[in-house]
Amino acid sequence: MSDYIKRSREDVARRIASDIFDGAYVNLGIGQPTLVANYLPADIEVILHSENGILGMGPKPEPGCEDYDLINAGKAPVTLLAGGAYFHHSDSFAMMRGGHLDICVLGAFQVSATGDLANWSTGESDAIPAVGGAMDLAVGAQQTWVMMDLLTKKGQSKIVSSCSYPLTGVACVKRVYTDLATFSCTPAGLVLIDKVPGLSHAMLEQLVGLAIVKATPVVHR
């Protein structure tokens, strides 16, 4: 039996933030990915995009200074950093669809080993459908990363061979950051980037139910 400790949400957010580079234009999806903003290293500049027409989005306002004409994609009040800009919706989505964003980080219901994403609908017949900007972001950013727990509350892997939930985009996810491991999604399937200490490769493959190619060690010369 493996003896390992899951990464907390904050640890996963910190892990993602450590992969974001100086000068990156980044869109953080609603939900867990929003946490990533809290862990961006202070010594780099990252410009956050919001689908509703903001570049240079800053943190939440001081209490009492909320302005609901300045909100993020989740309709929560935010601020604008010096150098930030407003633009209309078609320009904003041109930035997304046109490949101008370096990275977007999204939540997910399921991701396939080859990078199909399902994050907008659970397909329940009585659910009210809503998609927002998820499909545009998923296919438009230079790199689409997913932040999620590896397993559902019932212990089933959310990384699957083929998504059973309705798709958001096909073969669009490059990386999946989870509480147990970080993966690359490739045309040939999953490649391991890192995992929590104490979790064996065999145990991880058993949890996911898929073959996982071991990460190629970085050779320092």
Binding site: G29, I30, G31, Q32, P33, T34, A37, E51, N52, G53, M57, P59, K60, E66, D67, Y68, D69, L70, I71, A73, G74, K75, A76, V78, L80, Y86, F87, H88, H89, S90, S92, F93, R97, L106, G107, A108, F109, Q110, W120, S121, T122, D126, I128, P129, A130, V131, G132, G133, M135, D136, V139, G140, M148, K153, K154, K158, L167, T168, G169, V170
Partner: protein, 262 residues
Amino acid sequence: MINKISDTVAEAIGDVQDGSTVLIGGFGTAGIPDELIDGLIAQGARELTIVNNNAGNGYVGLARLLQNRQARKLICSFPRQADSWVFDELYRSKKLELELLPQGNLSERIRAAGAGIGAFYTPTGYGTDLANDALGHAKETRVINGRGYVLEYPIHGDLALIKAELGDRWGNLTYRKAARNFGPVMAMAAKRTVATVHQVVALGEIDPEHIITPGIHVSKVVKIIYSPTQSGGVVTGSFPNDLLPQVNAVNGRSVTDPGEAA
């Protein structure tokens, strides 16, 4: 002499035929022209197709228009919000038709109408359920340079209702912060565009370098009293930095965060 300034909302909106397509600006509550929607309610046109990113908040503005049963169909990207009670009930009881679109396809279809584009191929939605139309029929697709695209057609409006900040008698407009959102593209895409502004200024007072919507796209401008935009449609877990769950507790229910799935 051109004077697009109207003294009243009713005069600005004028006659709206039953069955019209009305483009309504706004994202959440930011940029929603509540006064113009109230004017449309007073005017009374029915069987409308309404185009908005969302589906109304609480019981005001767009939600009240829907509740008043003036709309036959809603075209939007994100109807389900923490406070979209009116839409939810109408949709579940099949009293309102919904055409759901990815948000970028929604905005580009509106832009295409304003720009005279016959149709366009977009990668967004390719390979998903939203590459089908509302009846479930597959939209045309094409593979271009190895990438799949869906053919999308323009959305023309008979009337656009938008919220701006400054306006002059030629109809030149500026906007306020992220309340700009759909305003400039909707203004281009309708036969008639009515904008509310918080301040009417003389010609030349808006720096021509700062005009966002040139007056050619605007039919009427009506001044309203500024009041701060109210919170609405807040999605769980969308707060930057420290999460503020109490706001969602006030809203009474949450919208699913995919990160929280099953």
